[in-house]
């Protein structure tokens, strides 16, 4: 190699290393957060992903200051845009007193008209808001949401929400961030979701959108005009979209991002041992994984238009489902794939809701022997000696579906297959693209699948266990007592009374095992120690982001 070529090869990287932000803005008071996906838009009425909701909450005013009380396990409401509130008509209606000093970025006052308009959009079928269920318990006329009868504006600071009945989530359903009516009032409802203003939001929160480059970055800067609660202490927050986990982790290790999640369990040890600048925190569990068993014969059920409910040929008997849960080493899967960042599940009631938990229930242990006994008592035996259980000429053999791209579930599926083989059950593993799997689950076209569920901050089991026809009742489970308890729980005047019903439901689900509830997942969040004031909690990663600040304002490295 000639000396000249060698010199060029040595100097080239130095040149590149030297180039960068010589003329850029000062980033010393800027935090950088990595996202694994982009937001869809900046309109809280039409967005659905958790990350969109979180980022919108920085930009739009919040109706209440929400706090999740971990020791009690319940959501608590404090004043924000709503200064005061009181329940009227024995709790059926809610009167809100709104602050009169909160302004949109363009100087217009945030008013009750904005709040009413926001709910009008949510309830309009043409808008098709994913939050449509928030108005379901308000007033309907001729089958349509009647915004004028549901929301009464008394004066510039007072409004009353009218509900059809009393239920525990009334206040929760008033937590939607209002959008400015004066920006959207003339929009064609069918075009509302794609309104250009959704990409250039006018908010009133602690941050305002400075720049959005799709699939790359979202930059928000402190909104100095914010009075609710006040401008962010950070000058800017940059959200960088980095889908590939290894690249994301590399950026974290380099110090070019300050916060990322989730960190995979396998990466935790390396971060703890080699990167003292990075601290790890966990999110309280709101996501669980499960195996859905078809409790009823879905084919027959659909063919009869929902009239014939016959137990599924394999999983129709609760003893069989119990046997399967006993026969699957859930603890083994948990230890291998989540370690301390997961806990065995007993039902789909998240442990974060302490007040509602039935603490008498214990997870089923791994006990194949007990599983065999239960299968035998349900009439399953290996009558022809081929190693596979059978009953009435039917072999215990089925396909277990699971989504492509989730290594944990792929591992779990393999363990399940091996465990159930020990009981004399043949499991065929079938990977499906997640969208196809969702469709199979909601159209009830399966025998068993491995899935996950993210529970809401408000307890409402009616979507899951009330009626067989419900698309989210993947198991096709029905129990008259459970349906009755759901009605009682949702109409209970307070959480203490609702808790009685929720505990009984958990007990019945634990007994009936419509699903094999696998484990709750606690996502790991990695934070560079230079970032102070973070408050990772049940409400999300970005909760109280206006209080974040940079402890060590050393220059931010830009490669």
């Amino acid at each position: 190699m000639s000396p000249r070529l060698r010199a060029v090869l040595i100097l080239l990287p130095c040149l590149f290393a030297a180039c960068g932000k010589s003329s850029g803005p000062d980033l010393s008071n800027t935090a950088v957060v990595a996202l694994n996906g982009d937001v869809e838009s900046f309109n809280p009425v039409v967005t659905r992903s958790m990350i969109s909701s979180e980022i919108n909450s920085l930009i739009y005013p919040q109706m209440f200051e929400l706090t999740f009380n971990l020791s009690l396990g319940r959501l608590e409401y404090g004043p924000a845009l709503v200064k005061r509130w009181e329940f009227l008509d024995n709790g059926r209606d809610i009167k809100l007193i709104i602050r009169n000093d909160v302004r949109w970025e363009n100087g217009v006052l945030v008013s009750p008209q904005d709040i009413k308009f926001t709910y009008e959009m949510i309830g309009d079928p043409d808008v098709a808001s994913p939050l449509g269920n928030y108005v379901d318990n308000m007033i309907f006329t001729n089958g349509r949401f009647d915004v004028d009868r549901s929301i009464e504006i008394v004066n510039d600071t007072t409004m009353i929400f009218h509900f059809a009945s009393v239920y525990p989530q009334q206040l929760f359903h008033l937590t939607v961030s209002p959008i400015p009516k004066h920006i959207f009032k003339d929009v064609d409802r069918k075009a509302f979701a794609n309104h250009p203003a959704n990409a250039k939001p006018v908010g009133a929160g602690p941050f305002k959108l400075e720049k959005w480059t799709r699939h790359q970055e979202i930059v928000v800067s402190a909104n100095q005009k914010c009075t609710l609660p006040g401008p962010g202490l950070l000058e800017r927050v940059i959200f960088r979209v980095i889908q590939e986990p290894t690249t994301r982790l590399t950026e974290l290790k380099k110090g070019t991002i300050d916060l990322m999640w989730p960190v995979y369990f396998e990466d935790v040890k390396g971060l703890q041992e080699q990167y003292a600048d990075i601290k790890l925190e966990t999110l309280p569990p709101r996501v669980y994984e499960y195996i859905a068993w078809a409790n009823v014969d879905f084919e027959e059920y659909k063919k009869s238009g929902g009239k014939t409910v016959r137990p599924h040929r394999l999983f129709g008997d609760a003893r069989v489902r119990q046997a399967l849960t006993y026969g699957i080493n859930r603890k083994g899967i948990l230890d291998a794939k989540l370690g301390p960042y997961g806990e065995l599940a007993v039902s789909d009631f998240s442990p974060i809701f302490r007040w509602s938990m039935n603490t008498d229930l214990r997870p089923y242990p791994y006990d194949p022997q007990r599983g065999r006994q239960l299968l035998q008592s349900a009439g399953w035996s290996d009558s022809d000696g081929d190693g596979v259980l059978d009953k009435g000429g039917v072999k215990f053999e089925f396909s277990l579906y699971y989504g492509i791209g989730n290594a944990r579930r792929a591992y779990a599926a393999t363990v399940i297959q091996e465990n159930l083989k020990q009981l004399g059950i043949v499991v065929h593993l079938t990977q499906l693209e997640p969208v196809v799997l969702y469709e199979k689950a909601s159209s009830k076209d399966y025998d068993a699948f491995l899935g996950g569920f993210n529970v809401s901050l408000a307890i409402d089991p009616s979507n899951r266990w009330n009626d067989i026809s419900d698309p989210y009742n993947s198991a096709g489970y029905h129990s008259d007592r459970v349906s009755e308890l759901i009605t009682l729980g949702l109409r209970a005047p307070n959480e203490n009374e609702a808790a009685r019903y929720w505990r009984e439901i958990q007990s019945i689900l634990h007994q009936d095992q419509p699903f094999t509830f696998m484990y709750w997942i606690k996502d790991v969040v990695a934070i560079n120690r230079r970032l102070k004031g973070t408050k990772i909690n049940t409400l999300g990663i970005l909760d109280r982001i206006e209080n974040w600040k940079i402890g060590d304002p050393k220059a931010y490295a830009t490669f």
């Binding site: 590149f16 290393a17 180039c19 960068g20 932000k21 003329s23 850029g24 803005p25 980033l27 800027t30 950088v32 982009d38 838009s41 659905r48 079928p125 043409d126 808008v127 098709a128 808001s129 994913p130 449509g132 269920n133 069918k190 979701a193 794609n194 959704n198 990409a199 720049k211 480059t213 799709r214 699939h215 790359q216 930059v219 940059i238 960088r240 980095i242 889908q243 590939e244 290894t246 690249t247 994301r248 590399t250 950026e251 290790k253 380099k254 070019t256 997640p434 969208v435 969702y438 909601s442 569920f453 993210n454 529970v455 409402d460 979507n463 698309p471 989210y472 490295a557 830009t558 490669f559």
Partner: protein, 320 residues
């Protein structure tokens, strides 16, 4: 030639229409309902039905197709289901970034590939030939995904010389123009290496074979016998003919400008078309899938056309 180009462009219209129709039918018949993805799991199940109606997905397929076609003719490819924005707007944002990455990669691919191929052919059987062949084979055998990650770990983390991800540094828009361009260039190095140099190995193999074929021809022997300098023999006589198969390869590589960078864009968080296409497929974003497919189809047509024109330019015997 001009008439030929016009004829080819006109002939591509029914081709693209056929492509759009097939794509429309296939994506709509594929299993998976997008509205299931677009409502919260804990939302009212009726929300999915409401959304389906609002998006027109509850209409019969022929009605949806006619509506789409009517709009498409006027240049309106509809709104993305998942991104709440017009398809054309989303593609217009992503295309320039992918074109930049892929065209540079393509240039590097062919420049390096041709150079290595020629060097290899001229040094056939010698040590340099073996070294270049082995290095090329090694790079070509590396999966792009793995090679990208290894380069990130090596040149971003262990020896922090290049950025690990992104199209530009955060807030690079505020930089002075020269810094801004350098910053983008800085971010291009690793992805272009993965896309360009790794593919150059294949180009080099073609070039080497083609060059060896040409070098064995009588007219090369004649040129040498006439006493022409070696640089003229290789540069003027051999290269021109040896490049013909490479031109075909080049034309066929043009569609790759938009779609081929998917893996590299994912690894390096490069916000281009590759990511748009993959996201659109996974979210069953029908209008966006069809828009991207049409664009890729147009690139294939264009690529073939460019290849044919370059062929004619390189070989005066070819006339259309």
């Amino acid at each position: 030639m001009l008439r030929y180009v016009i004829r080819r462009v006109l002939a591509s219209i029914p081709l693209l229409l056929g492509l759009a129709t097939c794509t429309f039918v296939i994506v709509h018949l594929a299993p998976g309902d997008p509205t299931q993805l677009y409502v919260d799991a804990d939302a009212d199940p009726r929300a999915a039905a409401r959304l389906r109606a609002a998006l027109g997905l509850d209409e019969p397929l022929p009605v949806q197709y006619v509506t789409w076609l009517k709009n498409a003719v006027t240049g309106d490819f509809g709104d993305s289901l998942s991104k709440h924005a017009p398809v054309t707007e989303i593609m217009a944002e992503a295309i320039p970034r992918t074109l930049l990455l892929a065209s540079l990669s393509l240039a590097v691919n062919f420049a390096v590939g041709i150079l290595i191929g020629v060097l290899s052919a001229l040094n056939r059987g010698k040590r340099l030939d073996h070294v270049l062949n082995s290095a090329g084979l090694f790079l070509y055998s590396m999966p792009e995904f793995w090679l990208g990650l290894m380069l990130i770990l090596l040149f971003s983390l262990a020896i922090p010389v290049f950025p690990a991800s992104g199209f530009q540094s955060p807030l690079a828009d505020y930089y002075a123009t020269w810094d801004y361009l350098l910053d983008i260039l800085h971010h291009l190095v690793l992805p272009v290496f993965v896309l360009g140099v790794a593919s150059a190995a294949a180009t080099a193999r073609y070039m080497r074979g083609s060059m060896l074929d040409v070098l064995g021809q009588d007219y090369i022997r004649t040129a040498r016998a006439k006493g022409l300098p070696e640089s003229a023999v290789i540069g003027k006589h051999a290269m021109r003919n040896a490049l013909l198969p490479i031109i075909t390869l080049f034309g066929l590589s043009i569609p790759f400008l938009l779609g081929g960078a998917v893996v590299v864009e994912t690894v390096f968080a490069w916000p281009g078309m590759g990511k748009v296409v993959v996201d659109a497929i996974f979210t069953r974003d029908y209008p966006l899938i069809i828009g991207c497919t049409l664009l890729s189809g147009a690139m294939v047509v264009l690529g073939n056309l460019v290849a044919d024109i370059l062929y004619a330019l390189a070989d005066p015997r070819i006339r259309y």
